[in-house]
C-alpha cells in the first residue's frame, strides 16, 4: 500500500498583512490564516498518487490548536489522516527545532505504517526559509529532492520514484529509493476540487492531537526556544523611500510624458550606453 506523508504549515496570509502607519507595528488583527500555498500543492500531489496507486495520505503539522483548520482543508482535498503536534513547549521553535519535532513524529508514524514518500512545500510564505524540509531529510537520513516540479513515476514494485526538479539552469530527473523526501513547487500538481464525501468528512474531522510527551517523548533541550540556535535580536520596519518626479500623462499628453522620461533615462551615461544610444 502506498503511504504518503505531507508536512504542512498554517501561515498568515502575508499578502494581507499591513503595517500601522502611525505605530509602525504589524497589524495582526483580521489577518486570515491559510494553508501555506506550496503545501496545498504538495497535498494535491500526494492525493493524486494515492488515487493512482491506492493507499493513504497522512498529514502532519506542528502549530497552535487553530491549525486544525489547515488539516481539515487537507482532508477536504482527499487526505485520510491529520495529526497536529501541538504543545506550549514547542513555541518559539526555529527551523532546527521544528525539523526535530517533525522528524521524530514521522519516524514514529513510519514505524507503525511504513511511508514511501514524504512531501513538503518548497517553503512557507511567512518565513520563506525553505529549511524545514531539508532538515527533516537530514535527520531521518533520507534522499532529498528539493524544488520538485513533476513526479514521473512511483515504482512500488522496485521501491523508487523518478522526480523532476527545477534548478536555476535546467531540470533534473532524480531517481531515489523509498522513503524519499520532496519539497514541492506549485507545478507538482493542480489543487483538486473537493469531492462531496471528502467535503462532508472534512467538516467534522477532528485531527489527532499529539503533545511533547505522547506518543513521542521529546527531548526538552531540543524543542521550543531552548532547542533553537537562532534568536531574534531586534525587529524593525523597512526603511521608507521618497519617490522621484512623477509625470502625469493626462496633463502633458502621452507622447510628451514618454519623451520626458526617455530624455531623463538617456541623460544618464551608464543607461545610455546600455541602451546602445551613446553618441
Amino acid at each position: 500500500m502506498f503511504h504518503a506523508l505531507v508536512g504542512i504549515k498554517q501561515v498568515p496570509d502575508t499578502t494581507s498583512i499591513r503595517i500601522d502607519p502611525e505605530t509602525n507595528n504589524l497589524i495582526r488583527e483580521g489577518v486570515p490564516t491559510i494553508l501555506n500555498p506550496y503545501d496545498a500543492h504538495a497535498v494535491a500531489a500526494a492525493v493524486e498518487w494515492k488515487r493512482k496507486l491506492g493507499g493513504k495520505v497522512t498529514i502532519i503539522t506542528m502549530g497552535p490548536p487553530a491549525a486544525v483548520s489547515a488539516l481539515r482543508e487537507c482532508v477536504e482535498m482527499g487526505a485520510d489522516r491529520g495529526i497536529l503536534v501541538s504543545d506550549r513547549r514547542f513555541s518559539g521553535a526555529d527551523t532546527l527545532a521544528t525539523s526535530y519535532v517533525l522528524a521524530e513524529a514521522i519516524r514514529h508514524i513510519h514505524s507503525l505504517e511504513p511511508i514511501q514518500m514524504i512531501f513538503f512545500g518548497k517553503q512557507a510564505i511567512d518565513g520563506d526559509t525553505a529549511q524545514v524540509g531539508p532538515g527533516v531529510a537530514v535527520r531521518l537520513d533520507l534522499p532529498l529532492v528539493t524544488y520538485a516540479v513533476n513526479i514521473r513515476e512511483v515504482n512500488m514494485q522496485d521501491g523508487f520514484a523518478l522526480v523532476e526538479r527545477r534548478t536555476e539552469s535546467r531540470n533534473e530527473v532524480v531517481k531515489a529509493g523509498f522513503p524519499l523526501l520532496l519539497t514541492c513547487e506549485k507545478d507538482i500538481a493542480q489543487i483538486p476540487y473537493a469531492s462531496l464525501p471528502d467535503l462532508v468528512k472534512s467538516l467534522r474531522y477532528e485531527p489527532e492531537m499529539w503533545t511533547a510527551d505522547t506518543p513521542v517523548t521529546y527531548d526538552a533541550a531540543q524543542i521550543g526556544l531552548k532547542g533553537s540556535p537562532t534568536m531574534v535580536f531586534k525587529t524593525g520596519t523597512p526603511e521608507k523611500h521618497s519617490g522621484g518626479e512623477v509625470i502625469k500623462s493626462a496633463e502633458v499628453g502621452v507622447e510628451t510624458a514618454v519623451k520626458m522620461a526617455l530624455d531623463k533615462i538617456l541623460s544618464i551615461e551608464s543607461l545610455a550606453s546600455v541602451l546602445g544610444a551613446q553618441k
Binding site: 502575508t14 525539523s99 531539508p134 524544488y147 535546467r170 530527473v173 522621484g244
Partner: protein, 346 residues
C-alpha cells in the same frame, strides 16, 4: 586562534555562480569588522572559500582573486554534479575539521538545498535570505556575532537574527543583494586539497536525465534592463507588450507575484520576496502597484521607471521617475520613441 569566515564557492559544470564572489566581498568586510577584537586577543581573521566539484581547480584561483585567503578544494568524481548528501557530507566534515565562525552560502536553488542540510547536520543556526550582514555585539556576547538581517512576513518586517551559542553562524544571501568586489589579478592565496570519502550508500539519489529548460535562460538577477508587468496588465496577453519593450531595450521580462499566481507567466520571471532579487541599471515597472513583497526584490535598481494609472500606487514611492497613465498608451509610445531614437543613431 584563527577566526575563519567561510564562503561556499558554488559552481555548476565548472562555472562559478557569481553569488560566490559577492559573498567573498561580504566575508572580507565582516572579517574587517572584528579587527578591533583581534588586536586585543592576538587572533587572526581569514576569509576562506570552500570549493567542491570535479576538475574545478581553476575556480580556486578565481576565488583568491575575489578575496579568499585560502581555498579548501574537494575535487573528485563523486562531486561532478551536485547531489545533496555527498555535498552535505563534504561540508559537514570540513566544518568539523576547521571550526569556522561564520559560513555564508548563496541562496540559490543549490545553496538553499545545501545550507539547510548542512546546518541541520551540524545542529547550528541558519538565517535565510539575508539582506544585510554585520558583525556586532548582541545580548552581551563576549565576541562580536554575525547580525543577520532579513525581511519577514512578506517583507513587512525586518528582523535581525543572531546565533549566539552555536557555530558556525550560517546565513544564506540571494544573488545580487550585494555587489561583487573587483577581482585583484595579483592576489595571493593558498589552495588546500581535502579528501572526502564517499561510500556507495552515501549516494542515495542519482540524476538520470538533464532537461534543458528554455525558461531557465531568464537570467533576471544579472540583467541590465528589466521590464516587469503586474496585475495592471489585465491578462496574460499584456506580457506580449512587455516582451516587445524588453526586446527593444535589450532587456528581459519580469513579473510581480500576482501575475504568477494568476498563471499569466511562469514563476521564473517573478521578482520580489518570494521570487528573485534584482538590481538592474534600468527597471521598468508597468501596472505594478508596488506591494512591499515586490519592492524588496527590486528597490536597489539604479533607475526605476514606474508606469501606473493610480497616482497613489506605492510603486511611485520608490520610483526614480513615474508616469501616471495607461500602460497600454504609454508603452506603445515608448516602443515607438525608442525605435525612432535607434533609427536616428544608425
Amino acid at each position: 586562534m584563527t577566526r575563519r569566515f567561510w564562503v561556499f564557492i558554488e559552481q555548476e559544470d565548472g562555472k562559478a555562480h557569481p553569488v560566490a564572489w559577492e559573498l567573498l566581498g561580504v566575508a572580507r568586510r565582516l572579517a574587517g569588522e572584528v579587527k578591533d577584537e583581534l588586536t586585543k586577543s592576538g587572533d587572526t581573521a581569514v576569509v576562506e572559500g570552500i570549493l567542491v566539484g570535479q576538475d574545478v581547480e581553476a575556480l580556486a584561483q578565481e576565488a583568491i582573486r575575489y578575496g579568499a585567503d585560502r581555498v579548501y578544494l574537494v575535487d573528485a568524481p563523486p562531486f561532478k554534479h551536485y547531489l545533496n548528501k555527498p555535498y552535505t557530507s563534504a561540508l559537514t566534515t570540513l566544518v568539523k575539521k576547521y571550526s569556522p565562525e561564520v559560513f555564508l552560502v548563496g541562496a540559490s536553488t543549490l545553496g538553499r538545498d545545501l545550507a539547510g542540510s548542512v546546518a541541520t547536520s551540524l545542529r547550528t543556526g541558519l538565517t535565510a535570505d539575508c539582506t544585510q550582514l554585520d558583525m556586532g555585539v548582541a545580548r552581551d556576547s563576549v565576541k562580536k556575532l554575525l547580525l543577520a538581517t532579513r525581511p519577514a512576513f512578506g517583507g513587512n518586517v525586518i528582523a535581525t537574527i543572531i546565533c549566539k551559542n552555536h557555530q558556525p553562524q550560517m546565513a544564506t544571501v540571494r544573488p545580487r543583494v550585494f555587489n561583487a568586489p573587483q577581482p585583484d589579478p595579483n592576489a595571493k592565496g593558498e589552495v588546500l586539497r581535502e579528501e572526502i570519502e564517499i561510500t556507495p550508500e552515501m549516494v542515495n539519489a542519482q540524476i538520470v536525465e538533464f532537461i534543458t529548460n528554455a525558461d531557465s535562460s531568464v537570467k533576471l538577477e544579472y540583467a541590465d534592463v528589466i521590464v516587469s508587468g503586474g496585475r495592471g496588465l489585465g491578462g496574460p496577453k499584456g506580457f506580449e507588450l512587455i516582451k516587445e519593450l524588453a526586446d527593444e531595450l535589450g532587456g528581459v521580462v519580469g513579473s510581480s507575484r500576482g501575475c504568477v499566481d494568476a498563471g499569466w507567466i511562469k514563476y521564473d520571471h517573478q521578482i520580489g520576496q518570494t521570487g528573485k532579487t534584482v538590481r538592474p541599471k534600468l527597471y521598468i515597472a508597468a501596472g505594478i502597484s508596488g506591494a512591499i513583497q515586490h519592492k524588496v526584490g527590486m528597490q536597489d535598481s539604479d533607475f526605476i521607471l514606474a508606469i501606473n494609472r493610480d497616482p497613489h500606487a506605492p510603486i511611485f514611492d520608490i520610483a526614480t521617475l513615474g508616469i501616471v497613465g495607461d500602460l497600454y498608451e504609454v508603452i506603445p509610445a515608448l516602443i515607438k520613441q525608442v525605435r525612432a531614437m535607434k533609427e536616428t543613431r544608425k
